[in-house]
């Protein structure tokens, strides 16, 4: 009797995980779709993406509710409890990432019909690829309970941060044929930030996966280190790097 309860609970946990992976899949696919719409000035695609986000939102709500139900009714402990708690946060991170993709699509509409110069296009292409890759790794680590991969995400994210700075530098220093107009520049800076934020969400998902698998939590040193990094980044920006 207890066995079948246990089994049923396990199945429900698996269902939650499958639901989260499915929702994440929608977001992972939307990132390159959005980058392409941005680079080719495809307004129709941008609109589709803005409308499709409601699927992600409703999926996220349903999953959150399911997790709450399981917590209340099943009162899990230890590993199972960590799994559900992690799932709740990961669910939120994915939903936020979906929102960021919508923001990119909307910014693209504000830039339209300005065409970007090749160097800017190159940086945007790379940011799109890096953020998609990072997000996919994060989901893979969750689906496979792979704490090693989850731990590596922070380092992999460095590249995306550098690209973000590169983009900002390009906007500030643009001139001649590649000159970027002020309003376009502002939107581009926001777009770069959105991509970078998607990467940050991916790193957060990695952190929760580590919690789920190893009960790992960031130590005080790590928190201080990360804050220091942020300060360095800001200084770097101000110096016009």
């Amino acid at each position: 009797m207890a066995e079948s309860f246990r089994q049923q609970f396990r199945e429900e946990l698996d269902q939650v995980k499958a639901g989260i992976v499915r929702m994440a899949g929608l977001v992972t696919e939307s990132i390159p779709r959005c980058t392409e719409a941005l680079l080719s000035g495809d307004l129709a695609a941008a609109r589709e993406m803005v409308e499709a986000d409601s699927d992600v939102d409703s999926a996220s709500l349903a999953l959150e509710h399911k997790c709450h139900q399981l917590l209340a009714l099943q009162q899990p402990t230890a590993g199972d409890l960590r799994e559900l708690l992690a799932a709740l946060v990961i669910n939120y991170e994915i939903e936020r990432s979906g929102g960021l993709v919508v923001n990119i699509a909307k910014s693209m509409r504000r830039i339209y019909p300005v065409e970007l110069g090749p160097r800017m296009r190159g940086v945007v292409t790379q940011m799109g690829e890096e953020s998609r890759r990072l997000f996919q790794f994060a989901i893979d680590s969750y689906a496979e309970n792979n704490a090693g991969l989850a731990a590596a995400l922070d380092d992999i994210d460095d590249r995306l941060d550098r690209l973000n700075h590169q983009c900002l530098a390009l906007i500030i220093s643009s001139e001649g044929t590649e000159r970027v107009e002020r309003s376009t520049g502002i939107q581009l800076a926001l777009i770069a930030r959105y991509y970078e934020r998607i990467g940050d969400h991916a790193v957060n998902i990695g952190g929760r996966v580590r919690y789920m698998v190893d009960a790992w939590r960031p130590s005080q040193e790590v928190i201080e280190e990360t804050t220091e990094d942020d300060h360095v980044n800001e200084t770097g920006e101000r110096a016009g790097e």
Binding site: V21, E29, L39, G117, P118, R119, R121, T125
Partner: protein, 436 residues
């Protein structure tokens, strides 16, 4: 004496009872046996238990044989299905999954598989949710296309249809089909545009000249007509070169030192390079790298790549040409720091008439055949060509050719070698049009 009589009668009585019981059991067994054997054709109502057991044994081995045969058939069907489609899912009337088999390539990525599962569920629901008439259910199918960015980028077609007792969904990979369709459409568009534009311009100019009285205007217009005619001529010249390369793939083969070919081409383009202030650097080993090739064709290929590099580089930029030996192949790289090629276009730039951005290249005078010609030359020589590029940073074209050796296979993949052809242009067009 009496005791003996009693014992004897007891024994007899026991024997009689025993006999009666056994007899009734035998009768029951015989009835059962004859009932079991009833449909096997034996009309012997007095069938023995032995016959019955033998028959049962026979039927059991028959069943075992049938089971293993159907198992073999099932494996066979699964094997065939996996060659034809990416995945199959069958579910019964109640919606429970009865059979599910996805190919490894489909299961490679978590998010990809999750999306495919979601799509399969949707189509199955559409098919089984409806109450269908007999006529409808015979041919009724629902289809959904799913474009996955992967990587790798794929277009999947998911179709579901009604089966007796349930529904089935098939997942097919239509990426190649779709790619060829897009190629075909664009090719026809491009070729007709290339020919129509100058002809249209010429006829318009001719009409205007016919009406025009003023001599200076006539002079200006006729000069424009001549330049349009020249443009058409150059289009036809390039088409002719493509045909030459395809018709005469061998050319005049001889041993060529790659370094010499490169130096010759660089010298030819020095003027164009200095005009744009571009510095061309060549790096190659002193050891001669020898290939078996037609001098003119190889030189034309290198010329084309270098010319492109110069065209799309910024003024005062750098172009570098590198020649080296890599394993059994000679490798030539042309690298520029120009505007690069968008991701979308990278896989298509070797198509005939394909140009990344018409407005960008129209002024450069190209009609999009250059790289197609280079590709054919390279493949004819048993080599391969590839490009690596990032917008805003530049492109690197890599050309590989087999080194001249006694016994040695080409270093191109088998597919490329097979695709090279002795096709004429027309047959090439026909092939493109009919492949779908």
């Amino acid at each position: 004496m009496t005791a003996v009589v009693i014992v004897l009668s007891l024994l007899l009585g026991g024997a009689a009872v025993f006999g009666a019981v056994t007899a009734s059991r035998c009768r029951r067994a015989r009835t059962l046996a004859s009932r079991l054997l009833g449909d096997s054709g034996s009309d012997n109502a007095q069938a023995t238990l032995e016959e019955c057991l033998v028959d049962l044994g026979g039927r059991q081995s028959g069943l075992v044989r049938e089971l293993s045969e159907s198992e073999t058939v099932r494996h066979l069907l699964e094997g065939i299905l996996s060659r034809m489609v990416q995945g199959v899912m069958v579910c019964g009337d109640d919606g429970r999954v009865v059979f599910r088999k996805y190919q490894k390539s489909l299961e490679a990525s978590h998010h990809g598989q999750a999306l495919v599962d979601a799509a399969v569920e949707r189509v199955l629901k559409k098919v089984s949710g409806r109450v269908l008439t007999k006529e409808e259910s015979d041919g009724y199918a629902v289809m959904e296309e799913l474009r996955l960015y992967g990587p790798p980028e794929r277009l999947l077609r998911i179709s579901a249809f009604v089966l007796e007792g349930g529904a089935a969904a098939l997942i097919e990979d239509c990426t190649e089909q779709d790619r060829v369709e897009v190629m075909r459409r664009d090719f026809v568009d491009n070729i007709s545009h290339e020919l129509r534009t100058p002809v249209g311009a010429m006829s318009l100019l001719a009409e205007t000249i016919a009406e025009e009285e003023d001599e200076t205007t006539v002079d200006v217009l006729s000069k424009r007509m001549i330049s349009e005619a020249e443009r058409m001529t150059s289009v036809i010249e390039e088409l002719a070169e493509l045909a030459r390369v395809e018709n005469d793939p061998e050319g005049e083969r001889g041993s060529q030192v790659l370094q010499e070919v490169v130096v010759e081409v660089v010298e030819r383009l020095t003027g164009a390079a200095s005009q744009r202030g571009i510095k061309v650097s060549v790096s190659a080993p002193d050891d001669p790298i020898v290939v078996l090739a037609d001098r003119l064709q190889i030189a034309s290929a290198v010329h084309n790549l270098l010319d492109n590099a110069l065209k799309y580089s910024p003024l005062g930029g750098n172009v570098s040409v590198r020649v080296r030996k890599l394993g059994e192949c000679a490798q030539l790289e042309v690298q520029d720091t120009g505007i690069g090629i968008p991701r979308r276009d990278q896989e298509r730039i070797f198509e005939r008439f394909y140009r990344v951005d018409r407005s960008r290249t129209a002024s450069s005078g190209g009609i999009g055949l250059g790289l197609a010609i280079v590709k054919h030359i390279v493949i004819n020589h048993g080599g391969e060509i590839s490009v690596d590029s990032m917008e805003g940073e530049g492109s690197t074209f890599t050309l590989k050719l087999p080194l001249l050796k006694e016994v040695f296979p080409g270093c191109a993949s088998e597919e490329d070698a097979g695709a090279s052809g002795r096709e004429t242009i027309l047959r090439g067009i026909a092939d493109d049009l009919s492949t779908s």
